[in-house]
């Protein structure tokens, strides 16, 4: 029986996909047949390694672009390249993000600017160009990775929480605007997930966060990737403008 998660022939862009949730998502989409376009800011070498890993493991086509999602011109140039090579885009996962924890009174201007540039502006830029490619085929799915912090807040995360709340606002408005073009826009709000973003947490904070998860385990990047797969697939064709928590019943 053919899987309802079948993504054969679909072209998917995953931002921030050299590691963590992005990489787990890239592998998940590739494993169901999608051609995956990787992106990260840090290292073209790492991206090339990741690209070859995808091709080898899943026997799929893959592409990689190193660029800053918060740089409008870089994003535009990348989507031009996608258009030239593939002529279409079916799935966008806006995953790239940065995190700087600071208490009110100790928030630096540069941290605010970088956080919003990557976490918020980057989502808008990618969404805009992706939607223009998607509307040619009158179909597409955009999945924005928000955060539980954007829904309920957290101490020390005024900046991060603000940027992620904005991602939810973007999702809700874009979903309304793009629905007539059959482009769906949803968000995922991960809770406490094992990624590089939490590796600097003290033992005490780590324990506190874990205690707040009702399932009593930290989430894995694959838990988020599974939700992305659902929203990217044809199993969710009537779902738009939703924010799905992937948090193990976390209460903050």
């Amino acid at each position: 029986m053919e899987s309802n998660f079948n993504l054969n022939g679909k072209i998917a862009m995953v931002t921030g996909s050299a590691g963590g949730i992005g990489w787990a998502t890239a592998k998940k989409l590739a494993s169901f047949g999608a051609t995956v376009i990787l992106n990260d800011l840090k290292s073209q070498e790492l991206l090339e390694v990741r690209k070859e890993e995808l091709k080898k493991e899943f026997n799929c086509d893959a592409e990689a672009f190193q660029f800053d999602v918060g740089n409008f011109d870089s994003v535009q140039n990348t989507y031009n390249e996608i258009f030239k090579k593939y002529k279409r885009l079916d799935i966008l996962v806006n995953n790239a993000g940065v995190l700087f924890d600071n208490l009110v009174g100790m928030i630096r201007k540069q941290d605010v600017e970088q956080t919003f540039s990557t976490n918020t502006n980057g989502v808008i830029y990618n969404l805009q160009f992706a939607a223009r490619l998607m509307q040619r085929n009158k179909s597409g799915s955009i999945i924005n990775i928000a955060s539980i912090v954007g829904r309920v807040g957290n101490e020390g995360q005024v900046v991060y929480g603000g940027s992620k709340a904005a991602v939810i606002g973007i999702t809700l408005s874009a979903a309304r605007e793009l629905a007539p073009k059959n482009i769906r826009v949803n968000a995922i709000a991960p809770g406490f997930i094992k990624t590089d973003l939490i590796k600097f947490l003290s033992k005490d904070i780590y324990s506190q966060r874990l205690d707040s998860v009702k399932m009593k385990r930290i989430g894995q990047p694959e838990d988020v990737a599974n939700a992305v797969l659902f929203l990217a697939s044809d199993l969710s064709t009537y779902i738009t403008g939703q924010v799905i928590g992937v948090d193990g019943g976390m209460i903050m």
Partner: protein, 78 residues
């Protein structure tokens, strides 16, 4: 069909106007050429001529005449 006819047809269909009203003076804001129609127009132009316009091009495409100029930058001859 030559390129000018292709472009005129796109304007007629996207803006739902009569062919004899498509001329160089036709501009954004006139008749049914509003923001929603503009995006449909852009999508149709991109598909017909197999190009991807820049965001500046999309915003600057404020008349039929301007559309021809912008397409000229992409190698479309009229």
């Amino acid at each position: 069909m030559d390129n000018i006819e292709k472009l005129k047809n796109i304007f007629v269909e996207s803006l739902e106007i009569k062919p004899n009203t498509v001329n160089d003076e036709l501009s954004y804001g006139s008749a049914s050429w509003d923001s929603i129609a503009h995006l449909a127009l852009v999508a149709s132009i991109e598909m017909e001529f197999d190009i991807m316009l820049s965001s500046d091009d999309v915003i600057d495409m404020s008349s039929f005449k301007k559309a021809k100029e912008i397409l000229g930058k992409h190698g479309i001859q009229f």
